[in-house]
Symmetry: C2
């Protein structure tokens, strides 16, 4: 592609409206143009990358037997009423009426439609398993669209839905997709982790999110430096110590701790480590107050507590409510707690030989508390894992912390939709059973944004070659010189003939501007054609990623370029 | 693809709701499932064909420098107010409000959005010409969605928009696209014609529709059997004879023709040919009554008359109105016509040496009318062309008539949108000028439907190999036999390895059913594996299109199949 005939006007300045780096760089490189809040035109430079991501997705899903179809974006309300989501989905669902006043929505997801297709099409266990996917534009009317393509309203998504006879084969479908996703993100050239995630209450046994690692990621994930284990922090397991089983040394001693309410205040006052103190956290569910105890130096994992209680929501108990149930805020502990409270204790707390706990009385704590002094409690893992924790799975590993951007998720839906929408099959005995479903999403445009969040520097984007809009950019520093034009043209044609996608900057402009512009665009390899070098038969080759520059003989620059592309993982189709 | 793992349940019976053949066959071959009126899921067998059409379109548009982008489907009302179409588009525009009560529509076309992108992006004549395209789902809320994908509400379209500095370069852009369209439909394996079409009043100098020829087509088109000329019948030019220039033989003779009003009645009564009579047609525009005269054996082309008058609408004049302006219905002629009427005469009429015309008096006609007797008229081509007419362009050709399905259109928009939306550029002298636009559409899903309308027989679809969902289908007649399974499997792998897309029917079923099913699906080549043939080392190869069948040696069937595919125009990518 000749730059002079292309639509790619870069910006020197960062537009003020953009706060995250991918948004800034996409605006500066003419990848997106906002049409309305959260609604963007994907400009030519972006579309090239999107198509490559889509191609990789298609190839890998086809490989595992997932079958492409394309469902409508405009969906009738009837179906959404069947699943109950017409009411429950809320304002994120963009609703409309057609000329006959029938109600429709712009599909934000397709569980209803695909379940309808399958229930009308399939009858027998012999036709299962089946896994269907599509790549499609979706719309979610976000409250606060922001961060460019990271949280837009109209976006491109790959969604897939598997249908199985039972949980076991559903698991097989799930893990096939899990492996396909790993190959997809690898082939996109991204540094990513599949992480165990919380599936919430509706969820199945497990769900994995696929995170692209980037400092700007919204999510914290922890991963082992030795084995494959990785999890969203809220889901990350903790390797727990055994409870302290030595003899009780003494009875708890009650000590006065006037005004010492926080762990810091108590440990300072008593001259003990925070890790010896027990932190009490006061919550309430819809039905009851809950006390959670963790070690003083730890952070509570609210998701873990919620899951232990089996409730969808938890609220912190305010001081007034706490007093009402007989608690003394700042001095709450596991001994002499008021009746009727649910007490949950993290195993680490029970590993402390002599701990410090609130005395459930004003300005008082107990010290020398032995695990056996705790009464009427349940034990469950409650603390958040953190970087440096030992891996919960392998014996050698230590967890490291990353920021991640969720670009994909695999999820066991089980029979949520097949039951409400009556999608059933006949088993070998002729009994009707609900199909067991899984669903699998990849944010296509989000993946492109995440790739930029992960791969950039101060000068601009650094595209992974696999999803780069172009593989190589030719910079002509002396447009109009017969010698330079001729050489650049020859190399342009030769690379193109060998399947390399080239952006040929044939515009007039100062070298300094061209170099900056090329760095901003982030095409993996830059080939620079200037009179001075060409007089010596040389062309400058720069790797955008490493910044490495070298002069190569004009006659060899095509082969050198292709070798360098291959080294970066370029696959020629 | 193994049929046992594919989603492709064919129907023996034709569903009652389908009246056109493509709709019937798409339902029977599990290509589409209706979700709501005019809204369909494209099932896997259809998606494969759609992707191939899209691929051909992309390749050919990229080749002529057309650049792909992707604009939003959800478009703000503001832009449509600028162009005036928010009001004018009517109920076909699917409108909606987002959570903030802002008005949007689901884009049925993208002139507004693309003009907005370009006006914000471009400044100078140096950046022109520019031609942008996208392939996208669109929605038009048709009053009467029908005929399956032929007139759906949600459909896939390729739309492109060119921007030029002036009409001359716009013409160049137009013809580039015209040629690209020819290559696109050729590569889709379709028998088609680009035909001159009427651009209406907003139109530019010309517009072409691309029609797939099919008996079921809604449009009549005429095309030369010698040269490239083809036109929609309403736009088709007519080769006109010179006016009769011989001497006047006599004065018109007034003859009584009581109750003889039609051409048939008059010619019978007077014993002359209808071609010697002159037919008068009475119309009115908003402003005036109009008389049009054509030869008695011809049909008026209303579009030609409307264009000659420069009006968007014409209405037939009813008898009452005709009498009011002094006309005598049934006896209207060009001599002694009442004052204040606009008279238009087709050249053929003036080529008659002695014609018969109405006398503008009850029960009377003139005979022996010489062209010089006509008064106060204008000459313009008014009659419809028909099959058998000489070609208006070449000397040898004769027009043939076809039915066509419009699948694409190229159109000069000129400055309609660039003026109303202020999309201008600075010319070399620094003057601001509106860009000159063209627009270019291809109905992707409609093309697939038209392909079926054109290529089918009583047994089912006959796919052109270039857009066939699969190239070859393997039919195993003895599933479970080691010999047959082994041979079929080997050929399946060998063909797949060579880039041939194979549907392998590995299901158990009666041979008769399998043959019918394969004919219905219409995959170009059928390879039949049965015990009896295999014992002789043979496989049966059937060409779906011609029905030709032959036995080929198992060892050669891969090469033979590939040769047959190539002969049909298969291009391996």
């Amino acid at each position: 592609m000749r730059r002079s005939k292309y639509l790619l006007n870069t910006l020197k300045e960062t537009p003020k409206e953009a706060v995250v780096i991918s948004h800034q760089l996409m605006l500066r490189t003419c990848m997106i143009k906002q049409l309305a809040s959260g609604i963007y035109t994907y400009m030519p430079f972006a579309v090239r990358s999107i198509r490559k991501i889509e191609r990789i997705i298609r190839q890998e899903l086809d490989r595992v037997g997932c079958i492409e179809l394309l469902m409508p974006s405009v969906q009738p309300a009837d179906l959404w009423n069947e699943s109950g989501r017409w009411k429950n989905y809320g304002k994120e669902l963009l609703r409309m009426k057609d000329r006959k006043e029938n109600e429709f929505c712009y599909g934000p997801t397709h569980e209803e439609v695909v379940t309808d297709v399958v229930r009308r099409e399939l009858r027998s266990y012999k036709e299962l398993p089946l896994n269907l996917y599509q790549i499609q534009t979706k719309f979610r009317d976000e409250v606060r669209p922001r961060f460019g393509l990271m949280r837009g309203r109209e976006f491109i998504m790959k969604d897939a839905y598997s249908f199985d006879v039972d949980e076991e084969t559903c698991d097989a479908s799930y893990w096939l997709m899990y492996e396909a996703y790993k190959r997809i993100f690898s082939r996109c050239g991204l540094n990513f982790r599949p992480v165990e995630a919380d599936s919430g209450l509706i969820g199945g046994d497990y769900t994995h999110e696929f995170h692209v690692l980037a400092n700007s990621g919204e999510d914290e994930i922890l991963s082992c430096n030795q084995c494959d284990y990785a999890a969203n922090v809220e889901r990350c397991e903790v390797r727990q110590p055994a409870a302290f089983s030595g003899p009780e040394l003494d009875k708890p001693r009650r000590v006065a701790t006037p005004d010492a309410k926080t762990i810091e205040e108590v440990s300072n006052l008593l001259g003990v480590q925070p890790s010896q103190c027990v932190k009490a956290l006061l919550y309430k569910t819809e039905n009851e107050p809950v006390l959670a105890f963790i070690r003083g130096d730890r952070t509570l994992n609210e998701t873990a507590l919620r899951n232990a209680l089996g409730v969808p929501e938890l609220e912190l108990l305010n001081e007034g409510d706490a007093r009402e149930v007989g608690l003394v805020p700042g001095f709450v502990g596991p001994i002499n707690a008021p009746d009727g409270l649910s007490l949950w204790v993290d195993p680490e707390v029970l590993a402390i030989e002599a701990s410090v706990v609130g005395a459930n009385a004003p300005d008082a704590h107990f010290t020398h508390v032995h695990p056996s002094h705790f009464a009427n409690y349940q034990v469950t893992s409650l603390r958040q894992a953190f970087a440096g924790d030992p891996c919960p799975r392998c014996d050698e590993g230590v967890l490291a912390s990353w920021r991640g951007i969720e670009v994909g998720q695999v999820f066991k839906l089980k029979t949520k939709y097949s039951e409400s929408m009556n999608a059933s099959y006949l088993d070998e005995q002729g009994h009707s059973k609900p199909m067991v479903m899984g669903c699998y999403g990849i944010g296509v445009t989000r993946t492109m944004a995440a790739a930029i969040e992960q791969n950039h520097d101060d000068a601009g984007i650094i595209w992974p070659v696999q999803i780069a809009p172009f593989h190589v950019t030719l910079l002509s520093l002396d447009v109009g010189s017969d010698e330079v034009d001729g050489a650049a043209e020859t190399v342009y044609q030769a690379l193109t003939d060998r399947g390399v996608e080239v952006l040929y900057d044939d515009t007039k402009g100062r070298p300094g501007f061209k170099f900056k512009d090329a760095d901003l665009l982030g095409i993996p390899i830059q080939l620079v054609f200037g009179k001075r070098s060409l007089n010596q038969g040389l062309v400058d080759l720069k790797m955008r990623g490493t910044g490495e520059k070298r002069s190569v003989a004009l006659a060899e620059c095509v082969d050198e370029t292709i070798a360098a592309l291959r080294q970066q993982g370029w696959e020629h189709h």
